[in-house]
């Protein structure tokens, strides 16, 4: 029997990956619908806290999409994103979470096909990994 549908959160940068998503849509490419796009101005604006929060709130996988190296609208945001993802993966694996649940991809505005392929392939991967069950007690810090 098939398990519950996986949930994938995708942070897309405004200038490349989000436009790539748009192109994939207008090109009517077949994409597995189990993903939710969050548009950010730059992949470098994706605070590592947001990635962890996505997992905490029920995401089974997270993709960060940015401009190809050298193409960042803000010059170097994507390089920062790369370094953060490398460190986040180390953090996730120390916490016992499969680091393949986090993925960074460079998808330009003209790469609708790549967008569709990455999403389809990633969701398939997450399906094979199964749901991420975080039985976390709620964060109850009152100082937030």
């Amino acid at each position: 029997m098939k398990g519950p549908d996986p949930k994938v959160v995708m942070f897309c940068c405004n200038w490349c990956t989000y436009a790539g998503a748009d192109l994939a849509g207008t090109s009517r490419l077949q994409i597995n619908p189990n993903f939710r796009v969050i548009r950010t101005m730059c992949s470098g604006r994706v605070d590592p806290q947001l990635v962890l929060e996505a997992f905490l709130k029920g995401a089974d996988g997270v993709i960060i999409g940015g401009c190809h190296p050298g193409d960042c609208h803000y010059i170097s945001g994507n390089y920062k994103a790369l370094r953060r993802v490398v460190l986040l993966k180390k953090l996730l694996s120390q916490l016992g979470i499969n680091q393949e649940r986090l993925r960074l991809e460079w998808i330009s505005a003209s790469e609708g096909k790549k967008f569709a392929a990455v999403v389809n392939e990633f969701i398939q991967k997450i399906e094979s990994l199964g749901p991420l069950e975080l039985d976390q007690e709620k964060i109850s810090r009152t100082t937030l």
């Binding site: 590592p48 490398v86 460190l87 916490l95 016992g96 069950e133 976390q136 810090r141 100082t143």
Partner: protein, 325 residues
């Protein structure tokens, strides 16, 4: 003004926070003038019964230090909450779980097995593990139950104020004493410490944050003046609340984060990942391959031990996850 009643308790703690109260030196007299101590296991011989039999909310201030690891600590936390008007999480362990919180990287069984079975100095051929009750001829004896995870105090009871630090710096303790004395306490839930980051109080010189690579201590000839992070040493001051006046850095040690995250931040480690990502390996970023970036950052070993030394139990994902398969 009638003398206040004060209780001090230690949960999963090392005793350093209790000593920090004594570190106020001659100012301890000011505290003694302000408050009578009605409960303080490390210093005063009073029993749980003495607290159990007092009226609810009869204690004015409770300083709870240490995290909550077993059922006894939880019981006393709940008891003191009931009996106290104001509960202050005192020290990094009570505020964030502290160093004992790193045990959340292992489960209960792994910890018990390590401690009672596999440490090299342990011989336990009969597999004897501590039990929560044992019958002897005089009756049944009980031991506290060892809980699955380490919790910060505010996961267990409502906390009114936080004084972080490992141990809390004397000036923050005295600041809190003054605030209590003058009735000038900030809104409930406040952290009684500055709202800046450690870097704001750090005496070292900062120029431009661009770090070619992360280094270990032995690879650095510290000049005693330049920002440790700029010299390549992983100092997490940028992501940590001020209040310690850079005590560790003044002793040439990098900040490890005992004051907890800066205001508005939930996850100190994630924030520091953001900061490291912004400053390490900038010079060659355009030509570095992904595997070179990986190699550069693999120098951060034990990322949770580095970035969440004191804060794992209050991190977004605060314990080891067991994935299926």
């Amino acid at each position: 003004m009638a003398k206040l009643k004060m209780a001090v308790y230690w949960g999963a703690a090392c005793g350093g926070c209790d000593v920090a109260i004594l570190d106020t030196q001659e100012k301890i007299l000011e505290i003694a003038e302000l408050a009578d101590i009605v409960f303080w296991p490390i210093a005063v011989d009073l029993k749980y019964e003495d607290i159990e039999t007092t009226e609810d909310e009869s204690i004015d201030i409770c300083l709870y230090n240490g995290s909550v690891r077993n059922s006894e600590q939880q019981y006393v936390a709940e008891l003191l909450r009931r009996k106290s008007k104001v509960v202050i999480a005192f020290g990094a362990c009570a505020c964030f779980g502290g160093i004992p919180g790193l045990a959340n990287l292992f489960d209960r069984d792994q910890i018990l097995e390590r401690v009672y079975k596999t440490t090299p100095s342990t011989s336990n051929p009969d597999n004897i593990y501590p039990q929560t009750e044992v019958k002897v001829k005089e009756g049944t004896l009980f031991l506290p139950h060892f809980q699955a995870t380490v919790s910060a105090l505010d996961k267990v009871v409502e906390v009114d104020y936080y004084i972080p630090g490992c141990p809390p710096p004397v000036n923050l303790i005295m600041g809190a004493v003054d605030a209590i004395k003058t009735g000038n306490l900030p809104p409930k839930g406040s952290v009684l410490a500055p709202e800046k980051s450690v870097c704001d109080e750090c005496p070292r010189e900062r120029k431009e944050k661009a770090i070619p690579e992360i280094k270990r201590f032995y690879q650095v000839q510290d000049d005693g003046k330049t920002c440790l992070l700029e010299q390549g040493i992983l100092c997490i001051g940028p992501a940590v609340r001020a209040g310690c006046e850079g005590a560790c850095i003044k002793a040439n040690m990098p900040c490890r984060g005992c004051m907890g995250p800066t205001p508005g931040v939930i996850d100190q480690g994630a924030k520091m990942i953001g900061a490291i990502g912004s400053v390490v390996g900038l010079a060659d970023e355009e030509i570095m391959s992904e595997s070179e970036v990986q190699e550069l950052l693999d120098k951060v070993e034990d990322i949770i031990g580095c970035l969440h030394s004191f804060t794992l139990p209050v991190a977004l994902i605060n314990k080891k996850i067991k994935e299926k398969s």
